[in-house]
């Protein structure tokens, strides 16, 4: 195997080895259909948030508000349920809040030139304040309509519904990024914003659109998580942020130029998902799990750097 191939497929090979390793260590528990079903369900929300992060990283920006948007969307949805509103109103309203929040990020970044790291952290904090206030700091689990539960629970033809969400959302995102004019423009903006502007690209519009889509995806992930769990806390989305970016970074090690891709991100999500799931099954202490997950991220990126330096 040549060095380039090792670079490109090294991450994929690592994933396969990881799966084989856990299958040998825990043949009945890890490789069982039940656990795979479980894994897919666990990965879904992270995969969607990581896709949002992938889009934003394609334009070389960061969105630190994704976790907060996810929480707020879920809180709003459940508050509306509590007031007796229908799913068909509550879900779109919650998604809209995510999109508007994302667009606000985009405006701060593209129009006012605030570094995205700062803008999205500030706006995300504001969103989390709303989520706290609306929920009153309480867990919400009242009167969840059946139609809403169906979004993230159950299965179709033996495949978890959340699996279809992964395929649908990531499939569309991958198509948009690789095949459309919009995707091409995002890569240009991420590659060289100044050159993109001088080449006549509508940068402000595209940056706002990207953040808005990311906000919408984060909200969707929050709703799916709420649907699966059946309850909502105002901080529930926050733990998604770091794993989402970890997944994107692991994913970049699988792309030839080091640019984020949806396929790479999915691989990153799968690796972190399998790590946590497998280690739990094998009985690794949670604190060791965290340490090992961090080490895996560093190793992936280091291997890539060393491979490319030659």
């Amino acid at each position: 195997m040549t060095r380039t191939n090792l670079n490109r497929f090294g991450t994929l090979i690592a994933f396969v080895l990881l799966c084989i390793g856990f299958s040998i260590a825990a043949p009945t528990a890890f490789a069982s259909p039940g656990n795979v079903f479980n894994l897919v369900q666990q990965m879904a929300t992270l995969a969607i948030v990581a896709t949002a992060a992938t889009l934003v990283m394609t334009i070389s920006e960061f969105d630190l508000s994704v976790g907060f948007s996810a929480s707020l969307a879920a809180v709003i949805c459940f508050v509306l349920f509590g007031q007796g509103y229908d799913v068909w109103l509550a879900v779109p309203a919650a998604l809209l809040v995510g999109i508007v929040g994302g667009a606000a990020n985009g405006v701060l970044v593209a129009r006012f030139g605030i570094p995205s790291f700062v803008a999205t952290l500030a706006l995300g904090t504001i969103l989390s304040g709303f989520a706290f206030g609306l929920s009153g700091g309480q867990s919400l689990f009242q009167s969840v309509p059946e139609a809403f539960k169906a979004l993230g629970r159950g299965e179709i033809l033996g495949i978890p519904v959340l699996g279809f969400w992964i395929v649908g959302v990531l499939g569309v995102a991958a198509f948009v990024l690789t095949q459309t004019e919009f995707g091409r423009r995002l890569k240009a903006i991420g590659g060289n914003a100044q050159a993109a502007r001088l080449a006549g690209l509508p940068i402000v519009r595209d940056v706002i659109a990207t953040f808005a889509i990311a906000g919408g995806l984060a909200a969707l992930a929050g709703l799916l998580l709420a649907s699966r769990l059946g309850s909502v806390q105002h901080t529930m989305g926050e733990p998604l942020l770091l794993p989402a970016y970890a997944a994107v970074f692991i994913g970049t090690t699988a792309s030839p130029t080091g640019a984020p891709t949806v396929a790479g991100t999915l691989l990153g999500v799968a690796i972190t998902g399998v790590m946590v799931n497998g280690m739990t099954i094998v009985g690794v202490e949670p604190f060791v799990q965290r340490i090992l997950t961090g080490v895996i991220i560093l190793v992936a990126v280091l291997v890539r750097r060393v491979g490319r330096a030659k």
């Binding site: 459309t180 004019e181 091409r184 423009r185 240009a188 590659g191 060289n192 006549g200 509508p202 640019a259």
Partner: protein
């Protein structure tokens, strides 16, 4: 002092250098010229210890040396000065000169007096006008070059290798730079000068070698260093001046009336005919680039413009493109290229929506993109391996042609070019000039902004000279001369 014998270096099947012999004596100034890819940078790297030859010997003062790293070469007194070598913007000259060196200390604290004592004497000798205590970010471009020179020689530098030291400087500043370099030479420092500006080599160097395909193909001793001879050795022909007169009966394509914006602070008045090349000549910051940027819609501007008689008010480059204006911006790495994307990506981006298979569906047709790329690449004589190779793998000249290729499949009514031949070798330069003339000959208006006086003379059917934020005079072909342009560009006082 420096003696190279039989230096060879291979990369796979290509000979980057083959049997290169070169000798340099104390205080000698050697010009090193050759087209891009001739092996100049490999040779520099070997002399500077950044690369090792496969065969051959390097001697310094008669003793064979083996540089294991750039550090060893540095210890031997060899200094490479890149035109964009980083300086710390917030540090003054003294502090920049001590970057990477041990600071003199006194009672455990950095001893500024000792730093000054070490630097000031050399500074007074070569660049007395340089203020040592001003952060370099407040110094003009030319003086930052002085700082780089000073840093190189202050710490026992004996051989300076200068790579395109004046590429970013307008002619007048280049002259000041060479004045400083001359005084450096008088201190006994040896110099190897690499430049695409052959006139500068001829004027400044006592000897020169021409490198082509990794071999030295010509050597010129004292009194023999002439631009024509060097171009011939590189395999090109000397360029000719434009002799065409403006056809004033041709329709006006673009009319600029009282436009201000950016560095252009005094209202500009200019009209360009179909088929005409208008050169915009002046120092950096004189307003010539700002005028192009205003026409391109890239900066806010005031005044009025007309394009083929109709009102033209571009608010963004997008508006400009829609009206048939095209642009090759200055500084291709910062403002033009997507270095880690492929050639097709770089070519089709500005007009991407013209490659749709279905009108309403914003999905580019890759077959159509590829086909148009091949046609455009042919038209601008781009040399490349594969349309999917990354833009960063092209040489400077080809990168510039790649940006030209963006507009090659359409009829541009106005073509805006900002420093189109900056950092491009002689061969590519002449191709690019041919392309520019061909665009004009197609009946388009071409505006070329340049800090290179000879290029302005060579390309311009008329030449608008900019100074201090406005046009001071528009020369016709017949009135223009090198002296007249320089005088107009830098005379002070009367504005």
């Amino acid at each position: 002092m420096l003696d190279l014998t039989g230096i060879s270096r291979r990369f796979g099947a290509t000979h980057a250098l083959e049997d290169v012999n070169l000798a340099l004596s104390e205080g000698e100034v050697l010009g090193l010229v050759g087209p891009n890819g001739a092996g100049k940078s490999t040779l520099i790297k070997i002399i500077a210890g950044a690369d090792r030859p496969d065969a051959g010997e390097i001697r310094i003062d008669g003793r064979a040396v083996h540089f294991a790293s750039a550090h060893d070469a540095y210890a031997a007194g060899i200094r490479v000065i890149h035109q964009d070598a980083p300086l710390v913007p917030g540090f003054d000259t003294l502090e920049n000169c001590y970057l990477g060196r041990e600071y003199p200390r006194r009672f455990g604290r950095i001893d500024r007096k000792a730093m000054r004592a070490a630097i000031a004497e050399v500074a007074a000798d070569i660049a007395p006008e340089l203020d040592l205590d001003v952060p370099v970010m407040f110094l003009p471009q030319a003086e930052r070059q002085f700082v780089r020179l000073l840093r190189a020689i202050a710490d026992k530098g004996r051989l300076l290798i200068l790579d395109e030291p004046t590429a970013a400087l307008p002619a007048e500043d280049a002259e000041r730079f060479y004045e400083v370099l001359r005084r450096t030479r008088e201190r006994g420092t040896s110099i190897i000068l690499v430049s695409h500006r052959l006139e500068e080599i001829a004027e400044f160097c006592s000897s020169a070698v021409v490198l082509r395909d990794g071999r030295i193909v010509a050597r010129f001793g004292a009194g023999e260093v002439k631009p024509e001879a060097m171009i011939a050795a590189m395999g090109g022909s000397a360029s000719e001046r434009s002799t065409r007169a403006t056809d004033t009966s041709a329709p006006l394509i673009i009319e600029i009336d009282g436009v201000t914006g950016g560095d252009l602070t005094r209202p500009a008045q200019l009209a360009v005919h179909a088929g005409e090349v208008m050169a915009l000549y002046g120092l950096a910051g004189s307003g010539r680039s700002s005028l192009l940027n205003a026409i391109w819609g890239a900066i806010p501007w005031a005044g009025s413009m007309r394009l083929t008689g109709e009102v033209y008010r571009p608010k963004s480059p997008r508006d400009a493109i829609a009206r048939g204006v095209s642009c090759v911006p200055a500084d291709r790495h910062r403002s033009g290229l997507f270095l880690v994307e492929d050639l097709i990506f770089n070519k089709t981006l500005p007009l991407l929506s013209t490659y749709r298979r279905m009108r309403g569906l914003p999905v580019p047709d890759r077959t159509a993109e590829r086909a148009e790329f091949l046609v455009a690449a042919e038209r601008v004589s781009l040399s490349y391996r594969d349309p999917k190779q990354l833009a960063r793998t092209l040489s400077g000249g080809n990168q510039q042609k790649l940006i030209f290729s963006r507009w090659a499949n359409r009829h541009s009514r106005v073509m805006l070019l900002d420093e189109p031949t900056e950092g491009v070798d002689v061969m590519a330069k002449s191709t690019i000039k041919d392309i520019i003339r061909a665009i004009a000959a197609d009946g388009n208006a071409v505006l070329v902004s340049t800090s290179d006086r000879d290029e302005a003379l060579e390309l311009g059917d008329r030449i608008a000279v900019f100074r201090q934020g406005g046009i001071v005079r528009i020369f016709s072909r017949a009135e223009a001369s090198a002296e007249a342009l320089s005088a107009a560009a830098q005379s002070r006082g009367a504005a």
